[in-house]
Structures are given as C-alpha cells and as structure tokens.
Symmetry: C2
Subunit: 617 residues, 2 copies
C-alpha cells in the first residue's frame, strides 16, 4: 500500500469515528462527508441517518418562557452513576442489578481504541505529509479564488437588496456570563447601584450583615472615585501567558467581595445585580437587533444543589431574552475541590454535575425551576487553563471516576470523555421524551497538548479557540473535512496566548475551516459598547477581510450557535440545513453564491480524493 | 570640528529656523527647546517671546455663536496680491506704490536659503548617524522605562479618583467633514431623507429640476434596496496604494449626483442634507461628552466666491457645535483647474483662497457671514495624494505664482510655502485686530518625498500622518526635539498606504514624538458607531498600549487641537501651557506624573547634549 492510500484509509477511519460519536449524542456531522463515506463503503446514503440537536423554540407571541403548565409528567425512573456514567433504570431494583434502559453510550474500551488509533494517525508520517500538502493547497487555492472572483463576489453582494454586513445576523458564540458586560458598563452599574442601594443590606461580612455602604467602607473605597483603572478588570500586558493573573481580573478592585456581589448568581441578594447586568446586556443586543450571544453560566460539581440554585436564580429574575442562548460551563478544577475535601472523588463531581439534570429529565414536575431552566440550556462547555499539564494520560488502566480519589487533576481527555458520555445518555433520554438536547462545545486548543483537539474531534459538536490546530496538520485537515465549527476570539488570545497578527483565524478561514468570531470576555478584552462589533471590526481591519468574508463568518456563527431551527430558518433561509450553495439564501446571509460554490466544490474535491485513495486499495 | 559637534551645530540651526517661522506665524514652539537655545546663545529666555495661536472661545452661557452685533469695524485697508503673497496697504495709492503695512512675512530668499540648509542637513552623513543613534537610544530608553515603571504608572492611575481613559477628553485631530459620518449612518440618512422628501425637488439634472424620486429613478435605484455594499463608500483591499480609487469612493453608489446631494455645501438644496448629517455627528459627540472633532471643509481656490458660499451655508444651517472645531482644507489640484482653464495661473488660485479672508478681516461688517464663519475656523490644511510626484523643485528660480501658468502642478513645497506665507501675514493682521488666528496643519508625510516633511518642519504648527518620518532619522529627531504634534490615522493608512502592523505609531510614541489618534474618514475606514473609539481600541489591542499610553495620546490630541485656551484649561488643567510634569493635571488627564517626568527629562537630556556639542566648539 503506498503512502497516499495509507493516508486516505486513516483519514476515512477518522471520519467514521467522528460520525459514530456525533450520531450517538445527537450532534452534527455534515451530510456531504457522510454521502462520500457511504459511497466509499458502497452503500447508499440515508438522509434519515442524519441527526440534529434539538433546541427549544422561542415561545409563540405572548407565550411565557417560564410557563410550567406544560411540563411532561414524571416517569419514576431511577438514575444512578456507575463507572462515571449515569445510567437510567426502570426502578431501584433494576438499578441494583444494573439492568439499565437501552440508552446507548460510547463504550469505554472502544472509545479508548478509537482514541489510540487517532493518536497514532496524527503522528503518522505519510498522513502528516499528505494533510500538510492538502492544507497548503487549500490555502493557495483560496488565494487564487480570491484574485479571480473577489470582484464578482462583491458584485453579487451589491446586487443583493436590503442586506449588508450590518443587518446580517451574528452570534457571539463564546462568551462568559460573568464577563459579558464591558468594563465601563460594570463600573457604571456599580456606581448606580450605590446611588440607589447604599443603605441596603447586601452582604454578609464575617457572619455580619452589612449594607453596601459598610461593604465599600470595609474595602476603603467610595464608588464615586472608582474608575476603570481602579476597577482593574481589564486584561493587559501583564496577563499575557498568565492565565492565573487573568483569572484574578474577575475580581473588581481585586476584591472577591465585589465579584460575589455583582457577578454571582448565589449571594446575599440572590444574584439580583448579576441578573440585572445580564438583562441590560440582553437589552443592548435586542436594540442592536442583529446580534445574539451564548453566555456561559457555571456549574462546578462541588455540591449537588448547584443546579437547583442556579435554576432558581434564572427563574426568579426571569433572566430570559430571545437574544441569549444559555450554556453551562464546567471548570476542570477537581483538584481544588479534592484538596479542600469538598468531594471524595472525581465520580462525585460528575454526579453533582449530571445527576440533577437526569432527575429533572425523568421527573420534570419534581423540580419545575430546573426543568424550565434546562429548556433554555443548549449545551455544555468545559473550561479552564489548558496550558496546565495534568501529568495523567487517559487509557484503559486509568482509574474509574469513583476510584479517582487522588489530589491530582485528571487529564483534559478524561474530563472530556466523561462529560461526553453523560451528555450522550442524557440526550438519548431527552430526545425520547421530546425534550431539547444539549451540545458539547468545550474550550479546546487554546493552549496545551494537541490531544485536546483530538478528544474534541471525537466528542464535541463544535469548539472554542482551536489555535493549536496550527500544530497538527492531520487534525486541522480533519476539522476541515468534518467542518467542525470553531468559535475564535483573537482579542482574547491577544491578551492571553497569541499576538493578534499571529492568530490563525485568517489562515483557517482561507483554507475553509468553519470559523466564527466571539468575544470570550468583553469585560477583560474590549473597549467599546459593542464588543462583538469591535471583534469583527478589528478582524476586518487587521486581516483585511472583505464583506463576503465577514458575512460568511457571521453565517457560520449562526450555524454554529444554538439558535433554534425556527430561528435559523428565519435568519439563514429555509434550506439552511442543506450544504453548498443551495443551503444559502443570499437575501438573508449576504454571502455570495460564488463563495458558497467555491467552498462546496473544494470540500467535495478533498473528500473525493480520499474516496479515490480507498478505491485504489 | 568632529562629527558630534558638526551634528549639534546643524541641529541647533534647524531649531532656530523652526523657531523663527513659528513665531512669525503665531504658531507654537516649545518653551523647553527655546530655553535651551537661549542658553546655547548665552542669552536669557524671555517668556514673552513665546507666542500662542488665538482661538475663539465658546460663547458664554446662552451666547449666540452666530451673533453679528459685535463685529469689529471696517478699516478700509486694501489687500492685494504680489508675487503670490497678499499684502495689506493703507489705501489704493499705497498699494499701487507697493508700500505695504508692516506685517512681517517670511522673506522668500531667506526661506529658500533655510530650506536648502535643511535639505543638506538631512542628507549629511554625521548628522544622519548621530540622529539615528539618538533615536535608537530613545527607543531602548523607553523600553527600559516601561519595564521598570509600568506598574508604578498604573498604581498612580489607580489612585487617581474619578478619571479614566473613558472620561479623558480626546479630539479627533484629523477628519474630513465629507466623510465624518460612518457608512451605516450615511445609508440610514439617505433612506430617511427618501421617506420624507421623495417628492421634493432636490436636484438639477441636465438643467431640469427633479424630485428625489426622479433622481433615484434616473440612477436605477430605490433607496429601500440600498445597502452598505451597494453604497460602496468603504475602502477595501482594492484601494491599497490606489489613492485615485479611494477618491472615487466618495461617490455613493459611484454616482457623483448623490455626493452632490448629500455631501456638498453647495447644491440645489443649499447643502441642507450635508449640514444635517454633520449636526447628527456633532450630536453623537456631544452625547459621548468626552469626544471632539476637527472636521475639514474645502476651499478650492477655483472661484473667488467660494468663501462667501461656504460661510453662507455655515451660518444658514447654524452648523455649530462646541464639540466641533473647523478647519479649511485646500486640495492641491491647480493642475486640474488650469487644464480646464478655470484659473489663468497659480497666483489666481492663491488669491481666491486668501483674498476673501483678508478682506473679511479688514472689513468684517462688509461680509458678516464670512466674518462669523472665520471666527470658527481654526486653521488650514493642505490635502491631496502626496505620492503623485510633481517633477518641480522649489528654488529661487521657480516662477512666481502669477507667472506659474503652465499646466503642471507646482511641488508640495511650493504650495506649502505660499500657504504659509499668506497665513503668516493674515495672522499678524488678525492678531493686531484682536481676532482669532489660524494654524497651518497640512497633511504631510503620508506618502511621497521626505522634503514634504521638511517643508512642514519649517511652516506647520502640526501635521497629519507623518509616516515618512520613518525614512529620515534627522527629520524624525527634529520632530522629536521640537515636539511637533502628529495626527496619525493607522486605520486610514491600513487601507491606503501602510499595513496596520507596520504603522510607526507605536515606535514614534515610544521615542517621545507627540502623536495623537485620528480617524481621517470614518465613512471609508470605520465600522462602528464610535469611529474615534474604534481607532483607539484597535491601536490599544494591536500595539498593546497601556492605559497610561492611551491617556497620554488623548492628552496630546487635546494639546494639538484647536480647542480654545479656556477649554484646554478645563480639560487639561490650569497649567497646561507649562511643559513637563508641572503642566500635567493628572486629575483631568489621567496621565501618570512618572510618565510626564520621564518624557521631560528625556527631552531635556537630548537638548542638553546639543548644548554640550555647541560648547565644545
């Protein structure tokens, strides 16, 4: 077998691996790739095999997003964790005998086999050479396309009435709720809250209830004097390559008390200020009309009641906006909890994260707040500093989560696998019940080992960052072939990991990887009132993006996002699920059909090459 | 004489040259440099020798900026042009005998002598080496300062109450009125005007009066379908190194009719739309509170009545805002006018530009509109594509303006000299009459020969662009020593002449040249609703500017600007005219005193070296 055939065989198997895991979890795998794979297998493509995640549609006119009248009935099933994964049983007896219901999950051994295969593949000489050359080719091809067709694309857009970059929908696909306001907004809010609430009891200081005035006095501060400088939440040169310093920036004036008061859902005022700030951000997005955001709220897995509290906050303050789609982020900080003895082992953390969701899925009426909240949750994110090396390597010999009671943090891949496995079972159950499903959209490839990107290739519908795809041509090519959306945040990277001019966004975009632009943390990184527009404007200026480029990125952001099917139809056109030019409605997206055709033909050409390679064998 | 002494001697003479021409024209020359120069000369510094331009102060509360009651009386003098410069005579008889009043102007021969000296100096080996080394040293010194004192500067700013980058005053020091709105604003305005005024007669098409509806029909357009793409006023990759294409972008939808209708002061509706757009921009600046702009309006010198018409427009539509300071830009397009036989020679163009201003200065009551308008005009700009080479070299043998009747355009320097000479006489006269004076603030060093920067060194209070200082260490060092403010527009450069990452802004700033940030043409270059903030945000991100850097640049923009003395006192502090830390009021500027001290000591050190060099001799 020659090198070409070897590479194609390996790439084909990689595709089948991702296809399998996506399907299992109701995540997306592109139809074009599936079609070519069926052809390679000599089978016929069945459209019904394609799966899609399910998102809650917006309430009809006048409908109440917090309506609890129509909650599905309780089923009385039992959910219980075994080996780090939650299984659903008909009853306690079945649970004791471990006779779970048929909700297929990724088999542990197979998963590790698949992973090991991919680890070998991305290090395999011929495949590295092959993919490297293909990527180089893709780059040059786009450059040629641009030189030949730039003016034609522009002409198409000029003839497209009433739609331009400004009124194309764009989604901020990666943003943390706790930093979703910009620094000036937070400053103003603090000053305003003090003018209104100085005498209100807002905090418990060393066990004593104190007013806001007393709280600020204890910090030796008067809000009137506060500035964005003294607030000190903005990242700067000091944070470059210092994720720890960056995390400390979440504390206004360096005081965790103020973070508690203003940026937490759980505090003495039940997270009222935080809810108000978020609703102000939402209101700005609604005014801007064409912008949406997908803020992340945290579940830590430290205590079992976190979900109930978070859902209570969400429902009490009615933190809902059609312009916000909610995500849950889980920080990978088992080691911190274990060190303080908050959890006995990693399994307990997983249980705290997932069991409440299973229970609310089985018995929605037993926890109406959580059930309502889950309707508006669209996915899970896994977050933390990827550059911290764990020293652990996920393999068949790794301890099971319930046995993982050491102080050391498990590896990224270990976290990812167990989150994915639980989400898979959960989605199967929710899909059966006609509920919305969850996408897995981890932070991945911002720093650290390239195995992170490998784990996400197997498990994630889409990812945030992806910078390290630079380092592995095989993975980069696979992300291209499977069109995995990547939410990139070059301004965030510029403050933390990679200078703006070196950001691979332009390179990825040219090669045909699916990228969107996102802000990550407007509080830390942005200066203007419209952080997402700032992000687009800077990318447009520094990378000299054309209107077509910018509208293509906007379109990708909507596709990547958790906007419901109905909203996507509205914003992208009826056929948005189709791939290639027929899936594009230029009147809504302002992306030239010439561009769409180029992308589609280019992708088909690459897939076809693999097919040829397999045939030769 | 060794190289060091030679260089110092040359630099000293260069300083005296600029000092002389600045003083003559009531433009600024820094006190620190003057003090050192007096020491070098063994004389004592006389503060009364320092001159300052005079700007009209804002009307007191409730005062009317268009009030014509207090216009000074007519003097009855006669103004007449001779050899390209306008002289003022007591009466026609004195004029005929050329017995002008004593309003000293730059002597033509001396000016050319001085210029030739400078041309030799910037090419002189030892001085090039010396200044190159000093600039390198300044760069490294700032880097060391930054590493040592960055945190200290930040601490100072954190302790500075109630003032941060957001509420520091900043002035957009270089912006063209015809492009001062962003593309989306213009688009909205066009659509809105159509909704209201479709049936209004707004234009004369081939001699026939047409309604707006008919006008758009003749263009095969309906404003409802218009988008920023079809509007096509934004610069893109196509405009790089193509100033001609860039100029064409001023025409919405490529139609000069729409430029006439929306962006001209003189048209069938008397420039009503243009006035409205500018007032909307002003209102945005007033809302933003801390932002000001200095828009340029055009005087072409093609006809003698241009000033009256422009002033009429200004007064009729009451285009006044405390946040706008007006400038007059004169395009260097004699060749075009001459080719069409609009003017017989270059002298006529100069006469059209300056004579009406002299006449209104002599007899304010004879042209009240123009007199009022001139109160609000703060300076002159010279504009056009600098990369066009004229092929003419300004020297004693150059034809006088009245003899310049050939089709060829005079050189940049020739234009600059005659503008400067006329402004000088004008300022002397106006100063005598207690009127406001005008600064000369040409576009300079955006492209073309470095002699442009030399001409401005002799004549301009401050300049726009200055990119080409990169190419001449001697001039760069002289701009540093004399602290000539430079309004830089890296986003404009990025679309036209120089990629963002290569912009020398950061380098100049570090070395201690005085730079401010400006937008040039928001319509062509910017994406967001706050173009000046976009400019600052991008510079901050790409160049990783600290808060102190940004506030220093903001402060420089106010100093450079034509805000009145009273406004500068308000925004910079009472002692703003003093140099060094004592001139800085951190409570108003948010610039750390450590930074001010560093800048001042560094400048003094360099001036002192020259003093030492002269002493040695």
């Amino acid at each position: 077998m020659d090198d070409f055939e070897l590479s194609c065989k390996g790439l084909y198997r990689a595709l089948t691996i991702r296809e399998k895991y996506m399907r299992l979890a109701y995540q997306r795998f592109p139809r074009t790739a599936s079609q070519y794979m069926r052809e390679m297998e000599g089978e016929s493509f069945k459209p019904e095999d394609q799966v899609q995640p399910v998102f809650t549609r917006l309430p009809e006119n006048g409908g109440d997003p917090f309506d609890i009248k129509e909650l599905p009935k309780n089923l009385g099933y039992v959910a219980r964790m075994k080996d780090g994964v939650i299984y659903v049983y008909n009853d306690a007896a079945a649970a004791d005998k471990h006779q779970p219901k048929d909700l297929p999950c990724a088999d542990y051994e197979t998963f590790i086999d698949d992973m090991n295969f991919l680890i070998a593949l991305i290090a395999q000489g011929p495949t590295k050479t092959y993919t490297h050359r293909r990527l180089k080719f893709l780059m040059s091809k786009f450059n040629v396309h641009e030189m030949l067709n730039e003016m034609e694309e522009m002409r198409e857009l000029k003839l497209n009435p009433h739609r331009d970059f400004y009124n194309c929908r764009k989604v901020d696909t990666h943003i943390h709720a706790a930093a979703c306001m910009n620094q000036k907004h937070l400053l103003r809010f603090i000053k305003r809250s003090y003018r209104v609430d100085a005498e209100r009891v807002v905090y418990k200081l060393n066990g004593r209830e104190v007013t806001m005035k007393e709280l600020f006095q204890s910090l030796n501060l008067h809000p009137y004097d506060l500035t964005v400088d003294s607030l000190d939440v903005h990242a700067g040169r000091q944070t470059f390559q210092r994720f720890d310093k960056f995390n400390a920036k979440y504390n206004p004036v360096g005081a965790s008390e103020l973070r508690d008061l203003y940026m937490k859902t759980e505090n003495h005022i039940n997270g009222e200020y935080f809810a108000t700030i978020i609703k102000e951000v939402a209101s700005d997005l609604e005014d801007a009309k064409y912008q949406f955001a997908e803020p992340r709220l945290s579940i830590y897995g430290c205590k079992p009641d976190e979900w109930s509290k978070l859902a209570g906050w969400f429902v009490r303050h009615r933190v809902f906006s059609p312009h916000l789609k909610w995500m849950i982020q889980v920080p990978r900080i088992y080691d911190i909890f274990r060190a303080r003895d908050f959890v006995p082992h990693f399994g307990k953390m997983l249980e705290n994260i997932f069991l409440p969701v299973f229970q609310a899925t089985i018995g929605p009426q037993s926890n109406p707040d959580l059930s309502i909240f889950l309707k508006h949750v669209t996915g899970f994110d896994s977050v933390d500093d990827e550059s911290k090396h764990s020293g652990h390597m996920f393999c068949t010999k790794s301890p099971k989560p319930e046995e993982w009671d050491i102080a050391k943090n498990p590896s990224y891949t270990y976290y990812i696998y167990y989150m994915y496995a639980n989400i898979t079972v959960l989605n199967q159950l929710r899909k059966q019940r006609g509920m919305n499903t969850f996408m897995f959209r981890p932070h991945c490839g911002e720093a650290g080992a390239i195995t992170h990107l490998l784990a996400s290739f197997m498990t994630a519908d889409n990812i945030s960052h992806g910078l390290n795809l630079k380092k592995s041509p095989v993975l980069q090519y696979l992300y291209f072939l499977t069109q995995i959306p990547i939410a990139m945040s070059p301004l965030s990277n510029n403050s933390l990991f990679l200078e703006y001019a070196k950001n691979p966004l332009l390179e990825f975009h040219k090669k045909g990887l699916v990228v969107s632009l996102s802000t990550d943390d407007p509080m830390q990184f942005h200066y203007t009132k419209e952080p997402l527009m700032e992000e687009y404007a800077i990318a447009a200026q520094v990378f000299k993006l054309s209107t077509c480029d910018m509208c293509e990125i906007s379109r990708s952001s909507v596709l990547q996002s958790s906007l419901s099917h109905e909203e996507k139809v509205l914003y992208l056109g009826e056929d948005y699920l189709k791939e290639g030019p027929e899936g594009n409605d230029i009147r809504k997206t302002n992306v030239a059909q010439i561009r769409m055709a180029y992308r589609y033909e280019t992708l088909c050409y690459e897939l076809n090459r693999i097919k040829e390679g397999l045939k030769a064998e």
